[in-house]
Symmetry: C2
Subunit: 340 residues, 2 copies
Amino acid sequence: LSRRTRQADPAELVDRVLAGDRRAAARLISMVEAGAAQVQAAGFGFASQGPVLRAAVELLAPRSGAAAVLGVTGAPGVGKSTLCDRLVAAERAAGRTVGVLAVDPSSPLTGGALLGDRVRMQAHALDPGVFIRSMATRGRLGGLAWATPQAVRVLDAAGCELVVVETAGVGQTEVEIAGQADTTVVVLAPGLGDAVQVAKAGLLEVADVLVVNKADRDGAARLVRDLKEMLALGNTGGWRVPVLTTVAERGDGVAELGGALAAHRAHLEADGRAVLRRRRLARAAGEVRELAVAALRAGLAEPAAGAELTALAERVVAGELGPYAAADQLLGRRAAAPLG
Amino acid sequence: LSRRTRQADPAELVDRVLAGDRRAAARLISMVEAGAAQVQAAGFGFASQGPVLRAAVELLAPRSGAAAVLGVTGAPGVGKSTLCDRLVAAERAAGRTVGVLAVDPSSPLTGGALLGDRVRMQAHALDPGVFIRSMATRGRLGGLAWATPQAVRVLDAAGCELVVVETAGVGQTEVEIAGQADTTVVVLAPGLGDAVQVAKAGLLEVADVLVVNKADRDGAARLVRDLKEMLALGNTGGWRVPVLTTVAERGDGVAELGGALAAHRAHLEADGRAVLRRRRLARAAGEVRELAVAALRAGLAEPAAGAELTALAERVVAGELGPYAAADQLLGRRAAAPLG
């Protein structure tokens, strides 16, 4: 605990991350996580390590951007984690270093993310080429969009050639985060949502590769057929989204999935360069936007802004001003340009 | 569905809400809920009903503020809902109209909030003096702080003398929301978190009344004793926080709880007027702040801001600029006043 709370030197921390020091990377991601917890808590300001985190991320920024980023998303229970573990093993067999960021909307009471860490670590614990980190969102998904790009940046700078971002495909935020990867895999399983539900959740839009896992179960062939039909309706641009089947627990189909991912990577580095560029821009833009929104939120908790906010709130309580008009005034907007 | 998507006339909707029309109130709260879902989804702009909602809330603002607001929070499983139902029944027996806003961090897949509605509605379905509404957060707690004050405003304007805001006491946001009520009840139960955990979760700070529910279970007396000891350590100001025991399922202790709530109300209207005023200001300030933050977020998705954001993101991707510095620039801040 004392190591955590002691104020770190950002330059030293960054040097260690760039040298591939796992503990330094873990410490920086912990700061990202602590920052994310504060982002949603308006009025509480930033985490105590905020300035260190800021300085470290700024120092890392020009030294990151080399990693390939893979998003993996899908409903709980489809077997994303098992599939990710198999993919990690395949990448390691090919000699590549891998970072996994598992964004887990776990119960704040059960600490599911920690359990996930333990289970995963068993397979890869002794392998220095794998860095696995769960980020528990603890009911604060608002911080997820803030935290993920920064955490990816840390793993990237730490030398991971591939960074896997695994999110539960249950909310718009998670789907968007997975969709901001270079390549996004959407995982389904028979009996856990049909093709129409997947389309409604916005998962088809972000998928570069569709995987029907647990393909030994009833309904797999039907799910594959439905997905192919739905894909045929949409315009998939220069890349044809494949629908693969896996049984991740047995390793079936994992090699084919690896092949599809390599093919998409090759596409991004040839005809799809504009796509890759657009996605990297979207990721950076999302990172900047979330930092700006969080800064505004924190700024409104500062004494000066707080006084203005209190004065406006007094007028709202008195019924002299509506809350939207008060927000306009707080942002210095004229009534002529309403927020609504 | 067609009724929902048809653009409403805000003035007509507000007139109906002020006349106590439940369907109009429900429709306006649905708009709040839709808005909340969009708030977290940066880049998606506001809900299509956003301008109608804005106009309606602004019209309602000077016509609301009469309701007493009661926050009820506590961990899942302590029996908050049952206790709320008992309190509603007692309020109804005393002739007061009640609105209940159950903010339910339910699984996005199971739709727990809807189930909750159904169970609750059975008891009060035929009573026009009760309006019960669950707001499903669907994994998007970010919208909760945005939605709740507006939804409370609607119920208040619709004539509810008491508005009960029930939140799961599992995250900072929920605890804060419950804590912004005029009176906040924190519910515990033996075996579901001890006094230290309750203190750590920030629940003691917001409690005006502590309730140990399921008090017929082992450990209730110990929990009461521990809570009383912890309360003795803190400075509780002019109001002494009572620790009550209930068995909500049987109705035991509910009359005493009602008495404590009435006593706190009387305190707020006498010696505690400054407290009441501070809490109402905090509620209005929170409402305004969340509207401002959401507006900034939506603004960053607009074409003009989007172009600036994209230009900054390009420099971040190129490694010329760190993401925090880019956020500074986006907000028009000088490097001399960093965000961190």
